[in-house]
């Protein structure tokens, strides 16, 4: 299925870009007239994935984070968050709730939040190559104000 709209975004892995990234995705999704709850879910999940790219993917270095978002006819939304950082050794283990390699102030709940707040999550990662997280959400059906032009 071809998306009806698409955007791509890239930015430095600096922590003050976390709010920028989730706001930019939110602004893009706004054209689908989401509920406040759907919008909050998407912003939270994007914030988790972007933070992971900054904190874990690029650790103490500054790299580029890439986001791609697509909107489909039926209210399906996909958001891809990609880094070219260290990658994840064991993805299933990393996705377990409370698992974290960072300790300290990280709760180990980033993936749990993404899983719970979105309808689907796919993680592709290769060590020393980077990580791509693809989040999918289906907005609840309604009369869409979306204009195809």
């Amino acid at each position: 299925m071809k998306p009806v709209n698409e955007m791509q975004l890239s930015f430095d892995s600096k922590s003050n870009n976390e709010s920028f990234a989730r706001s930019a995705v939110a602004s893009f999704i706004l054209q689908l007239d989401p509920t406040i709850g759907e919008m909050a879910d998407i912003k939270t999940a994007v914030s988790e994935a972007v933070t992971n790219a900054i904190v874990h993917g690029y650790r103490d270095t500054i790299g580029t984070i890439y986001i791609k978002s697509q909107i489909f006819e039926n209210g399906k939304i996909t958001i891809q968050i990609k880094d070219k950082g260290v990658g994840i050794e064991d993805v299933p283990k990393a996705m377990e709730p409370m698992f974290t390699t960072a300790g300290g102030e990280r709760a180990g709940l980033g993936f749990a939040v993404m899983q719970s707040f979105m309808d689907n999550i796919r993680v592709v990662s290769k060590q020393d190559k980077g990580t791509t997280v693809t989040l999918t959400k289906y907005l609840i059906p309604r009369v869409l104000s979306y204009d195809k032009r």
Binding site: N16, G37, E48, T51, E105, G110, V113
Partner: protein, 106 residues
């Protein structure tokens, strides 16, 4: 600044506001910890009433302050969690720490 700290009846109260993410949590943490370590309050209250957005960094903030207050021999309370944050709070399981306080339960 996303935190305002006051004292009342011996308790240290941190009023959090705005958006809590990994970026803002860092300043909030520093601010709270320096006060708590100076004053050794018996109770630290984190007031979430003014928080508009929070990701799991907010959970880390709660867990970290819980550990700090244990070290300092005091206790942590999380107060005034607004409805829109209930989902992430309950998913996190921080309720099991016994820190959540709801209105009427004081």
């Amino acid at each position: 600044m996303n935190v305002q700290i006051t004292s009342a009846d011996g308790a240290l109260i941190a009023l959090l506001s705005g958006e809590i993410d990994h970026h803002t949590a860092r300043e909030i943490r520093k601010e709270i910890d320096s006060q708590a370590e100076k004053l050794h309050p018996p109770v630290l209250k984190l007031d979430f009433s003014q928080v508009q957005f929070m990701d799991s960094s907010g959970i880390g903030l709660i867990m970290g302050r819980f550990r700090l207050m244990q070290l300092l021999g005091g206790m942590l309370l999380v107060i005034n969690v607004p409805p829109h944050l209930e989902r992430i709070i309950s998913l996190s399981g921080v309720g099991a720490l016994g820190v959540l306080q709801y209105k009427g339960k004081e």
